[in-house]
Amino acid sequence: MGTKLYKRVYVWEVPVRLFHWLNATAIVVLAATGLFIGDPLALMSQNEAYETFLMGKVRFVHFAAGYILLVVFILRIYWGFVGNRYAQWKNFLPFGKKKAKRIKHFIKHDVLPLPSNEERYYEELSVGHNPVASTIYIIFFFMLFVMILTGFGLYSQNAGWWLPKMFSWVPPLFGGDFGTRLVHHVTMWLILLFVLVHIYMAVYHDVVEARGEISSMVSGFKFVRWERFKSFRKKANKIKEILDEPVEEELMN
């Protein structure tokens, strides 16, 4: 027993964290303002229309947050090509033997709440995203893409700028603004369901693994068991070599 040694690893680079938090903020703001736009409060105001601009302001915030979402979305796409191994796109596809093993591990130890042998548990623990999470992130990323398409599609008709106007082909795909709005609305709920699971799993990993899961998205660092490092394995091999040396033969000589 006793305490294990951990090493600090820089997992999440600045653009990844920036994407995460700007995206999170944008989603919260967009969902809140979007729900308001969909079903505004009953204002019992005695003001004339020229004295208030509530809906206009809410819509402005919604559109502004939409632009932030778009910008960080593009940033993340780019960083998937130049970032470190945990930011790379190939990281998000659940293919390969190693990933299959880890998916099995995740289902066995995390989805099914079974008691786990700590040593075995840490052997197969992913340092970055586990493959189940990363697969869900790809789906989530696609949902963001749908939101950007439908959102800017609905916005494009009133836009004066070429960028949102580029999305004007979207509403006809869904049979006009009715269908587009429905897709926009339903996808928002799917994203909110994702957020629920995402936050739960972040807390879960932080509590169960106690290696700085949540704070890693602030600092960028995660703590990884010493046994997982190449340098450790090299040293361990050396010790093993020493132990395996034919001592008796030497003595005999």
Binding site: M1, G2, T3, L35, G38, D39, P40, L41, A42, L43, S45, N47, A49, Y50, E51, T52, F53, L54, M55, G56, V58, R59, P113, L114, P115, S116, E118, Y121, Q157, N158, S168, W169, P172, G175, G176, D177, F178, G179, R181, L182, H185, V186, M188, W189, L192, L193, L196, V197, Y200, Y204, V208, A210
Partner: protein, 373 residues
């Protein structure tokens, strides 16, 4: 152009009808205004109508209620009805032509043969494809048969109203007759879709005058609707828009807000999703339009409007989830169920992993004793 000498021009036809040149110029001005053209276009329209020989029009009626024709003959300027619906241009229309039966069919076939590739085909109504199209038969032949025959020699097709351009009410679920809009049947002809139930009379006049006078289609959007009339949402030209931006809404049709003329968004107005010119051109010669009379727009010119949720509610029904289910209700239920599931998972995890968690806790406490701080 041998035809030009044998056929009279629109101008000649109009003057022969007893209109003065002044009436004619007023008409040209009206049309330029409807089409959103600048002043110089008035002369162009007048010139085109003076020089262009009349183009024959065949106006077919399939699954429809004739509200498009009704709307059209009530459009602002009397010449509109005369130029198209009177004997000037219209060679065939079941509703208004004097001929009937075999005589009418003969007239149509005569036009189709004589002006092959030149005539304009106007279609009012959708075409039923179910049961080999027997749900709509004219002169003993199915609508689909009639349409294909008439479309073959047409220069262009105008799909009048929501029936011809979207399928309208008869294509609402479960669409028993398989009512189908024109553009899904005819693929090789230019088609102008002029949706609305009915379309505004002035819009119809503008479209057809543009086609007849200039010999080409008006500028169309990605859904083949004339841009001049369908590029803006009803919402964007609504005189109640200021109340929307202020967040002041009618909560129910009998509340003080309704009396004050606040925005009808929350009682189901579909103006924000509907592309039409109602807020600008209005109805009945510019007298009023639905929102002005206190009723929300219900999106009659939008595809599938009949199935797109309740008329007097804001939220859209999700297809396949029953009449009472809207996106927010389903979303809240799903989020609630998920939260319960996650809670159960958390408790189960705390129980199943209690041994190792306790071990870690003890190790942490021992380490604290060892800590030099």
């Amino acid at each position: 152009m041998a035809i030009q000498t044998t056929r009279e021009t629109y101008y000649e036809a109009i003057i022969n009808q007893g209109y003065t040149r002044r009436d004619f110029m007023k008409f040209a001005t009206f049309m330029a205004a409807y089409l959103g053209l600048e002043n110089s276009a008035i002369g162009q329209i007048a010139e085109a109508l003076e020089k262009t020989p009349r183009v024959p029009v065949i106006w077919e009626h399939y699954q429809e209620c004739t509200c498009c024709s009704e709307s059209f003959i009530r459009s602002d300027h009397p010449i509109v009805a005369d130029i198209i619906l009177d004997k000037v241009s219209l060679d065939y229309t079941e509703t208004l032509m004097a001929a009937a039966g075999e005589q009418a069919e003969a007239a149509k076939h005569e036009t189709m043969k004589k002006y092959h590739g030149e005539y304009i085909l106007c279609v009012e109504g959708s075409v039923p494809l179910g049961a080999d199209g027997v749900y709509c038969c004219i002169a003993g032949r199915t609508a689909i048969d009639q349409l294909k025959e008439a479309a073959e020699g047409a220069k262009a097709i105008i799909a009048w109203g929501s029936c011809a351009s979207n399928g309208c009410v008869q294509s609402a679920k479960p669409n028993p007759t398989e009512a189908t809009p024109i553009h899904k049947i005819i693929k090789d002809k230019p088609i102008i879709r002029v949706p609305g139930c009915p379309p505004i009379g002035e819009v119809m006049a503008g479209v057809i005058v543009h086609v007849l006078a200039f010999g080409k289609l008006p500028e169309l959007d990605s859904m083949n609707r004339p841009k001049a009339f369908y590029s803006k949402r009803v919402h964007d030209s609504c005189y109640r828009r200021a109340y929307y931006d202020a967040g002041l809404f009618v909560e129910s049709f009998d509340d003080p807000n309704a009396k004050k003329g606040y925005c009808l968004y929350k009682v189901g107005c579909k103006g924000p999703m509907t592309y039409n010119a109602c807020g600008v051109i209005k109805w009945n010669n510019g007298v009023s339009y639905p929102i002005q009379s206190g009723h929300g727009c219900f999106g009659c010119s939008e595809d599938n409007f009949w199935d797109n949720g309740p008329i007097y509610e804001r939220l859209t029904n999700i297809p396949g989830f029953g009449i009472e289910a809207n996106a927010d209700k389903i979303g809240k239920a799903a989020a609630g169920a998920l939260a319960v599931g996650l809670g159960v998972h958390a408790v189960a995890t705390a129980l199943s992993k209690r041994k190792e968690m306790r071990r870690r806790q003890r190790a942490g406490e021992v380490n604290l004793q060892d800590l030099d701080d």
